[in-house]
Every structure is written in C-alpha cells, then in structure tokens.
C-alpha cells in the first residue's frame, strides 16, 4: 500500500478570531494533497510544512495572545525553517515595535516599526484622506518573488489598517502602495513573506498569492 504524501499548512490560531476566511481561501486553492489546519497547538505548528500567521485587531492583544498561548517559540522556529506567510496585523507583529496602543514591542523578525497614518492624513495634493486605509489599492511589486507569480504588477488588493510598517532594511521590501505616502505593504527575507493586505479578501489575485504560497519551497 503506497502512502500519498500530504502537505500541511498550519494557520496559527492565537485567539484573535476570523480565521475562517483565511482557512476557506487556502482550502479553495489547495489541491487534494494539501491539508489546512487551524491550530493553537505548538506541536502541530512544528510539524507543519508551511505556516501562516494571520492577524486581526489591535497589536497589544495580538502580541499578548501569542505569548500567553505559548506560541512564540513555534512561530520563531517556523520563521527559521519553513515557508512562512504573515498577513495584516501579522506583518506588524514581525516588526521590532509598533506605536499602536501606546507602544508595543513586537517579535523583531524584521527591523523597523509600525507607524500610525494619523487622523489628519493628507494626500499628495493636500486633500484629506480617510483613516483607516480601507479598500482596494494598487500594489507595486518591488522585487520579483515566487509569491508574486501570476499576479500583475499594480494589481489591487484589499486593505484595512491604520498602521503601516517602515522596515529599516529597504532590501526586504517586496511591495509598496501609495496612500498619501508610498509605504511598504510586503516584506520578504529568505523563507518569510509578509503582507499588509488581506489575500483572502482580494478576489482572484489574493487567491493566486495563496496558491503561490502553497507551492512555495521557501526560496526567495
């Protein structure tokens, strides 16, 4: 009897809700040999072939839950070893620090900070811009990367956030967006990729990014 190899993707559940749509989108593009597991079990994360770190809500709660659930060592281990994708507040949690909630130290995988757009954020022409940055904006691909494969440059993705990441190392920027200022919306280093937008809410281009992740070997 031959055994079919099953590849697993662990979607990390650290109690911040709304993992349904992430898991459904992954399942929608996964083939029969790929299993999507929403989990808060470090052993399952350690054993998974790929790991996705979602993020919803405020950063203090996110980081707090990651520590209180004891998942930080598994997250850090996964970031050293296997294809790893962080989304939305997930990207912010990988920075050194966020100015949200009065200032929160984050996981420091990428050096740099998450900053607030501000409540009087302005466009280049001085007109008022709404915060949160909510809706479909164009993503300029700064580098070619396996996760951008099949996605047109300047494709629109769905965003909803009030804080944006400013990495110290420009070489790690994989994509940018313009909203009053040009800011980083995707970071890449080795086997880790992180995006500010929501691929699971970004229709066919978002699903393509998830499909790319499922097939990614973790090499840049």
């Amino acid at each position: 009897m031959s055994q079919v190899h099953t590849s697993t993707i662990a979607v990390i559940d650290y109690g911040m809700g709304n993992l349904h749509s992430v898991a459904k989108a992954l399942e929608h593009v996964a083939d029969e040999h790929t299993q999507v597991i929403v989990t808060s079990d470090p052993a399952v994360i350690d054993a998974a072939d790929r790991v996705l770190l979602p993020g919803v809500g405020a950063i203090r709660d996110c980081i707090g839950e990651m520590y209180s659930t004891g998942l930080v060592p598994s997250i850090q281990k996964a970031m050293r070893e296997k294809p790893f994708l962080a989304i939305c507040v997930g990207i912010q949690s990988l920075m050194s620090h966020s100015e949200e909630n009065g200032g929160v130290d984050c996981l420091n995988h990428f050096q740099g900070n998450a900053l607030f757009f501000g409540n009087d954020h302005k466009d280049h022409d001085g007109s008022k811009l709404k915060v949160p940055h909510m809706g479909w904006n164009q993503v300029k691909q700064s580098i070619s990367h396996p996760l951008w494969q099949g996605i047109p440059d300047h494709a629109r993705f769905y965003f909803v956030h009030s804080y944006y990441v400013v990495p110290s190392n420009q070489n790690e920027v994989a994509g940018t967006c313009d909203y009053g200022l040009e800011f980083c919306v995707a970071l890449a280093r080795d086997n880790v990729f992180a995006v500010q937008f929501h691929p699971e809410k970004s229709h066919k281009d978002g699903l393509q990014l998830y499909k790319n992740f499922i097939h990614w070997d973790g090499k840049p």
């Binding site: 809700g17 709304n18 349904h20 749509s21 459904k24 989108a25 929608h28 919803v56 809500g57 405020a58 409540n119 009087d120 954020h121 466009d123 008022k128 811009l129 709404k130 915060v131 949160p132 940055h133 909510m134 809706g135 479909w136 904006n137 164009q138 300047h154 629109r156 769905y158 965003f159 909803v160 956030h161 009030s162 313009d178 909203y179 929501h198 699971e200 809410k201 970004s202 229709h203 066919k204 978002g206 699903l207």
Partner: protein, 258 residues
C-alpha cells in the same frame, strides 16, 4: 493612482431570502443569498453587505450558516448587520466569516457597546449604521436626525454629531442610510452624505435611494462618499456591477476594474 472607491451591493435578508422593500415595506423576493452573493462576486463587487432584516433570535442560527456559506465561496469583504447587540453576536459573525459587523439600533441605545466592541475586536471591523432623516423645514438650515426601527422612531440625535461621536467611540466606518430616500430611486441624500463624510476621518458608505448609475457617481463626487451601497438596481437586473463601475470610472472616479 491610489485607493479605489467601492461599490457594495447589499443583500437584505429575511427568512433566508434576499428581499428588497420600498422604505422598508412592500417586500419583493430577489433570490437565494449565497447565489446572489456569488453573482456579485463574479461581477466584480468590491464588498458585500448582508443585512439580516428580521433578526429575530430564531433566525440567528440561519444567518450564521448563511454567512458561513457565503464566506466559503466569496473572497471579498463581507459585512453583516442586523440585530447585532452583544460582543457575543459579533464574535459569532466574525467566526462565521464576516469581516465587519454593522451595529445600528444597539449603538443608539447603548453607545458604550460600540466602544467595547472596537476595543475588543478592533475598529476595522466595527461599522456603525446610521439611519438619518431630514428634519429641517424648507428654508431652514439643513438638519438630519437619527431614526430607529426602520425609520419609524425619532431619537432626537443630530446625525452629524452622532456620526462624530460614534467615530470617537471606535467606529471604523459609517454606513449612512437616508430614510427619506431608501427605496425611492431618487438618489442619495447628498447633503447629509457630504456633511458626515467631511465631519469624520473614517470611510463613509452612502446608502438609500439609488435608482440609476449617475446616482452612484453623485454619491462620490458630490456626497464625498468613500463607497456606495445599492440593492434593487442590481438585484432585479437593471444594471450589472461592471456597468456601474465603468460608469463611475468614465466619470473620472478611481475604480477597481477587471
């Protein structure tokens, strides 16, 4: 180039079916919510709003399953409103696959609920729905008031002040419905849309009264809305989402086109 304005088809759901009434009466059947949502997703809708208009506790379970079914097949943002009264209601909807929840009447009776919900789930998923009616007479300065119970009960609250307060309490978006216009096909109330959009820093969705595609354009250009919501012009096949987007793009509005 930058952020696109959004078109949001709205599904008013009663007893498991999409319906649309004129000023909340005279209900017409417009199909199965999951099928309708899929159709709009394929047509390029930027987001879908699902309003549970019966919202009795018996139907709550049905709504949760419907949200799950839509979220499993539609990969654009989904807002669920109608009868959201507690953090537990919000948690269930988010876990079922909603990205945002709309809070309406509960915010009027208990504004602290909005603060609590925003603190717990983040402002990004808290939409405060405002039903406003013009109460100033001809010749007086414009004034709009908040109404509840489908536009039947006045609250004495000034609509613009209320919107500002809700944003201070943590609302991440305002869904503004003109009760005078809802279902009339005479176009948005551009006055209240603009007044609120200019008064708050969060996105404002204009709703109530869309009868043709120029009304959508006006909502953005004159009403300064960040998104426009419509139901019946899409449900009954008068216009497709693509046609609406193309018309708005032709008018110089930045849109997400296929």
């Amino acid at each position: 180039m930058g952020l696109a304005k959004r078109i949001i088809p709205c599904l008013d759901v009663d007893n498991g079916r999409v319906v649309k009434g004129v000023q909340f009466v005279d209900i017409r059947d417009a199909g199965d919510p999951v099928e309708v949502a899929k159709r709009y997703d394929e047509q390029g809708a930027d987001e879908i709003t699902f309003l549970d208009i019966t919202a009795s506790s018996d139907d709550r379970e049905t709504t949760v399953h419907m949200v799950e079914a839509i979220a499993a097949q539609v990969f654009i943002p989904l807002t669920v409103g109608g009868g959201i009264r507690t953090c537990e209601d919000i948690r269930r909807m988010l876990n079922a696959g909603a990205d945002k929840v709309g809070i309406n009447t509960a915010a009027v009776f208990n504004p602290e609920f909005v603060r609590e919900a925003a603190q717990r789930f983040g402002s990004q998923c808290i939409v405060v729905a405002i039903d406003a009616k013009k109460v100033s007479a001809e010749g007086e300065p414009d004034k709009w008031e908040i109404f509840t119970h489908g536009g039947r009960k006045p609250t004495g609250l000034d609509a613009v002040e209320w919107a500002k307060k809700m944003v201070d309490y943590g609302a991440g978006e305002i869904l503004l419905t003109s009760m005078d216009r809802d279902g009339t096909k005479n176009g948005f109330d551009l006055g209240v849309t603009r007044a609120i959009s200019e008064a708050v820093h969060v996105p404002v969705i204009a709703s109530g009264g869309v009868g043709n595609l120029d009304h959508l354009v006006d909502g953005v250009t004159e009403g300064k809305a960040d998104a426009v919501l419509a139901a019946s012009i899409f449900h009954f096949g008068e216009y497709s989402i693509q046609q609406a987007k193309q018309r708005m793009a032709d008018a110089g509005i930045e849109m997400r086109l296929p």
